[in-house]
Assembly symmetry: D2
Homo-oligomer: 462 residues x 4
């Protein structure tokens, strides 16, 4: 036991030998992390399961002692997987909580577990495993969204749609082009997630900052043994540089950065769909189960899901700034400031997971209002570029063609006419190759999209 | 009742008449805000207490009905002040939770409360009152910290101290100068808090965005009546421009911006004290009850409180970024994205309050190691500027004086000597006015600080 | 002169006596600030003009010397006001540039100017005056924008308009309500600017961190004399706490925070107007001189001004984060990191000034498409709340009224009908008070806006 | 020509056919990007060189025309590589500048170049090539820094050093451990850079958003031909999804995110070295050519380079926030807001390149003060953990060992003694295995570092 005063809170701390006074109560709450770091319980148990074997290899634990400790740890691990684990909020952190549980089960032997290791080593190890797991999960959710986009694409494969730049009608596209755009964004996100998880290496054995007397080879053997039965925990390695290992939070920033790109994509999709579901655009029928009404205005069907997704950029960007700020100018090796990286990390992970899970359902329930879109596609300015392109093929320099079409549009605007109504004699005055028949061929959504040879419309694959 | 299907979750929503499908369960959780906006309960009750009287003034409620409703609301208000209020986490938000409680008590009459008002109006009203209260509280905590700084200043009033620029020893100062520096920072924060609270106006009557048929004069009377008995709730006004009122979150950003300056001050103080409590500086003895030990290294006494304060800049800056990001490019009037302003707001307020509360105790427990400081003050480079100043008074141009002292320092560095040991014949070679006696007068901490006439050392007042 | 090696770059530094090696050339460029801090030239001259008098008061300069120095400084000040001042980019910073110019004009006497003062004191003094001037200018530009909003309001005083929440049509408002919303936002910004400038105090006399032997009373007299002739430079005071004074950058963060709110307002206005100028909304005719075309698509008229304004939130928020990051955990007193506060400060000030200047012209050129708006106002769902409000006055509880109207809307949606077409016998089945005549009175934009008694529509004043 | 009014500014725009009014002069300046996007000139020429061949393949240009155009483009490209290219700041952007230069050389034929392409396509293409080049350059600079770290490590290979956690002395390490820590951080940065450049694909052929009639196969051939002679430009591909391609700025955020991690590492190194070069720590002798003095205090040698590096985190983090903010909620496809991504991108790239270039020289000039370090290593608390570890090997449970050592430290602190002086009889009262001889073996820096078996000290490789 660390202290004589059994029963007191301090007795349960994993440190304290040289301290004369107890912690300030308020500070105890302020510095406690159990309220959130309990999420690392599973991974902390992995650290302990390996560490026990390392201690055994070094003769600090007997085989029997090691087995007895690990049996309890395995049991705790199972309770987590079965969702039966509830953190004890009066513990200082998850490491202490687990230690206390062990002590309750096996008494003084438990005190041997935390031999020659440090929470500095544990927490970075735990967080890396956490990040690996969560990144994989997010990768899967992204793939789910990609699959729904593909399904919607099959449903609306030949549907022309209005393409925008600067929020202004630009050219006719296919709705599948639009869906594919997001497909490719999310697929890039999947690649980023995969690269990220592949780069993760969880080190063990750094001690507080300087390593310990436990041999590297014992770590190698213990890790190998552990991963043989449970390879799911990814890359675990004996520490190389111990200072760097406990000080490293690159992987948190990298993950938060990656999520900020996913979130940016989500916010753009949300904005698009909010626009398209206004009464003015009116292209989309949003699934009602993701909308809400108003307590005052009886007619409202608000795209709240999309708004909350758009607004979540605040949280995700804020979390990234948070961790970047914390790490700025932090000297080596471990500093307590680093404890504050966990809440932003968990918050961003949780938010993106929720968004992606719902987005899949949301996108599956999305319906296009083909009639409205058909009407919009009669806007002749959408074909202005196609008209210019036609002239180019008639050997007009593009900038001249651009100018001719510009003047034609100005003309019909002034006269309140339509391009497709212009009589041949007038058309010819703009360019000799123009006539009503050609105009009608050009001003047609199907012809417009068919004429674009520079792009690929093959259905993409995940 | 909004829906026939009594008992269902939807029946408890404050909207839904036109909806055919229930909300997606997961989305219901995602969009729910009760888990945090319950903190607004008190202020939401204020809105309702006033609104009831407005409805009565407009003949929509009888006096008896209004009294009956307000009796329940007052009771709820009391339960909050007595710390007995527990939010019902299955409600959509705090407005709905309160509405449901009212319904339980007085049945269908309760449904009349939410007449011609909107949660858009309520939430901004509630948040403004919240901000006003919390800002005042933070103002008081800042004043507490100022007072401890003054007390420590009295204790160490004539204690010389080492002043730094660029992390390098610069000139001798008084420890009271150092304490006053933070005093003035925090006092400026108090002024900012006061300006902020004075600028807050909580509007009532905006409806969802466009006002309502309830008369402005009825609002005026109801507000006046309410504030007569409970002026503590600050400035409440009938809405002027309803669009602007529901769309406004300036006051959240302004508050978060103000807190980011307080936090910046805290982080600088923390950094200074972390430095001063290293074994190398060793100027300060930190109160043990705000330090922790290491689970591995038995000798450690770590300044965790200060580290967590320094690291909290991450959270505070992240929260500001969060709300700025949310508001960027948000069209008028209300959008659901705005719901996400609350968690960052509450988080920053809570963190700064905790920090200030503990800081007061921490600073009160701080002790100076006078011996160590005395030793540090024998570093003669600390008097280099005083030496140059002496030469200036002997009619040397300052840049020459600067150059002479620079060369003197280079000289003693090269020779491994001390300035105060230089013999008169050598001193005179640098400048005729120099001699050992003058040097000893100059190289003295008390003389150094006494010679600074440009600054004021009167004890500051709050 | 600081160094013997006249002519070398180092000879021109304001320090260097103890240094043996010259600066690394690349580092010289990296650490130089003249490329941007030349903007502080005017204010740095003010510091010098006062400092000269302080030196004279303390007997370090004779009256003749002081006059001779100040004559040159005054001349330089005039060259700035006449726009003839060009920074010498080979100087280290603006302080050195000015010092060098002085030296060219009056030789060795110039070296006496920088006696017992520090660039730490100068730069914070300069920046505060800069902030004061620029904030006032931004205040004026905001007022200009407010005035154009008032002019447009007079032009469209009785024009009904569509009000939105969640991007969805909500209720009929007046276009003047809409304009007023931004008026009130910008007017709040004006108040913030005024509060800010009033709180600014530029201190002089801090030295590097610890004050100097120059008497406070000499500062008082010199400042008083200076401000008598040129009160425009605002509040200048002898320093109180010198440590705090050189370490203070609160006023930079506060200014950047204030600008981030102005910018947020600008981004919301921009977003609204981008929306309203889409072909789908089509409410606004944007002034062509603030739009651009496409090099490919001949028909495009893009709202580039608005997009750049919206996007400028990136720059403004980034600049705020930048300075908050720099200041985090910076120990007292001055650190070189602080030099990096200037580029973000100047960038935000410049951007907001440009935006406001153009916005005034832009808003003046804005035209409403009344026909399109008239058409939009025939959307009957815009009157749903008015309908519910009507029922409330017929003693229906609001939540029942809400439900009735919800069901009416669902009914007409299903039947493809309009509310105003529903026959009396059907209307009565929803509520006995409903009939065609009442419906037509309610479904009328002018009646709708006239019925809102809770808000004020008096033309606001600046 | 686009307009009749040759000579006017508008005539030089690449659009404008439908416009009646010229651009507002101030807006012209506000929206112009040439002042910074000239940095893309080289890559824009690559786009044009390929596009010319595509037009030729599609029969829009003859071979002779294509050759004539490309000859001029090649010449411009050479002028850039020879550093002779000066942007014409009156052009709207770099695309227009190059177009104008082409026109000057070959007259009307030049107008054919911008046929069926869009600046939306060009700018994203250009930026991707820019990012690829700059990332490679940064990769090389990082490797240079790694090499200097290795060189210093060889120099100080067996030098013990003080290891810190929480800013407090923790355990003895080797200085090479410390250097390696940063080596591994920067090497991870190299890997991130490599992954990043490998993931970059520059697409060509997207048009404004919807592709064009130019065939994909013609793009394939033209790209292949181009890359055959100049493979240095990396991966260039015919566009797949054109919407996504013009809307994509992921690669900017990813690059800025990557740089924010590099910068975070730099800021930590800077902070460490600022600390270690204080008079109190005094472990390092910084190369004088990277330090500066004070204009007031003659003795100062300030670590300005390190401070500016630390402070640059502000700029780098701000730039990341800037682009994340810009992209938030931006609808598809291109919006003018995106133009504002370039300044932050260029700023972060430039800053990190400068820092790394100087850091190499700085680190090469760094010297350790072995004497000071030797003295620091006599601090016995540095061996507390080694002492506990010794007890563990004597079969004491670690938590008991921790407690024993804690009490020993408390004892010597109270008595003002040293651990190594404790007499055997006292030592034995703490634990029977303790005696003076063992204590002296344990309290020895070389033994301490030699005893750590869990870490690897092999010299790392790049």
């Amino acid at each position: 036991m660390i202290r004589e005063e059994t029963g007191s809170e301090m007795a349960k701390k994993m440190w304290g030998g040289r301290f004369r006074k107890g912690m300030d109560k308020r500070f105890e709450g302020f510095s406690s992390s159990i309220a959130y770091d309990y999420k690392l319980a599973e991974f902390d148990l992995v650290h302990s399961l390996i560490h026990t074997r390392v201690l055994q290899e070094n003769g600090i634990l007997t085989v029997q002692e090691a087995n007895r400790i690990n049996a309890v740890l395995e049991e705790l691990l199972k309770s987590i997987k079965d969702n039966r684990f509830k953190p004890n909020l009066s513990a200082e952190d998850i490491h202490t909580d687990i230690q206390n549980r062990l002590e309750k089960k096996i008494g003084p032997l438990s005190l041997k577990l935390h031999t020659l290791r440090s929470r500095n080593d544990q927490v970075v190890f735990d967080e890396k495993l956490f990040c690996g797991f969560e990144a994989s999960m997010i990768g899967k959710l992204l793939i789910n969204v990609c699959e729904v986009l593909l399904a919607q694409r099959r449903k609306y494969s030949e549907q022309p749609f209005v393409g925008y730049t600067h929020g202004q009608r630009a050219q006719v596209i296919l709705f599948s082009d639009y869906l594919d755009a997001y497909f490719y964004m999310f697929r890039r996100d999947v690649h980023r997630v995969v690269n990220y998880t592949e780069s993760l290496q969880a080190f063990i054995g750094a001690g507080a900052l300087a390593g310990s007397g436990l041999s590297r080879s014992s770590y190698e053997r213990a890790i190998k043994d552990f991963l043989r039965t449970t390879p799911v925990y990814g890359k675990i390695r004996p520490v190389v540089n111990s200072l760097e290992s406990v000080a490293d939070r690159d992987f948190v920033i990298e993950f938060l950065g990656l999520l900020s790109i996913v979130q940016m994509h989500l916010s753009r999709l949300a904005e698009d769909m909010i626009l398209y579901s206004t009464q003015e655009f009116n292209y989309l029928d949003l699934p009602e189960e993701f909308c809400t009404g108003s307590s005052l205005m009886p007619h409202k069907k608000n795209p709240d899901f999309l708004e909350l997704v758009r607004g979540s950029s605040g949280r995700i960007n804020g979390n990234l700034v948070s961790v970047l700020t914390i790490l700025k100018g932090l000297p080596l090796a471990y500093n307590r400031d680093m404890q504050l990286d966990k809440e932003p990390l968990f918050s961003s992970v949780e938010t993106v997971k929720e968004e992606l899970t719902m987005l899949k359902e949301f996108l599956a329930g999305l319906k296009l209002k083909e009639k409205v879109i058909e009407q919009a596609l009669t806007d002749e300015t959408l074909y202005a570029t196609d008209l210019a392109e036609f002239l180019v093929l008639k050997k007009v320099s593009f900038r001249e063609a651009h100018d001719i079409v510009g003047r034609m549009i100005r003309y019909v605007e002034d006269k309140g006419m339509r391009l497709s109504e212009l009589p041949d004699e007038l058309l010819i005055s703009f360019h000799r190759a123009l006539n009503q028949k050609e105009m009608q061929r050009i001003i047609n959504p199907f012809n417009a999209v068919a004429s674009r040879k520079s792009i690929s419309r093959k259905a993409p694959k995940i």
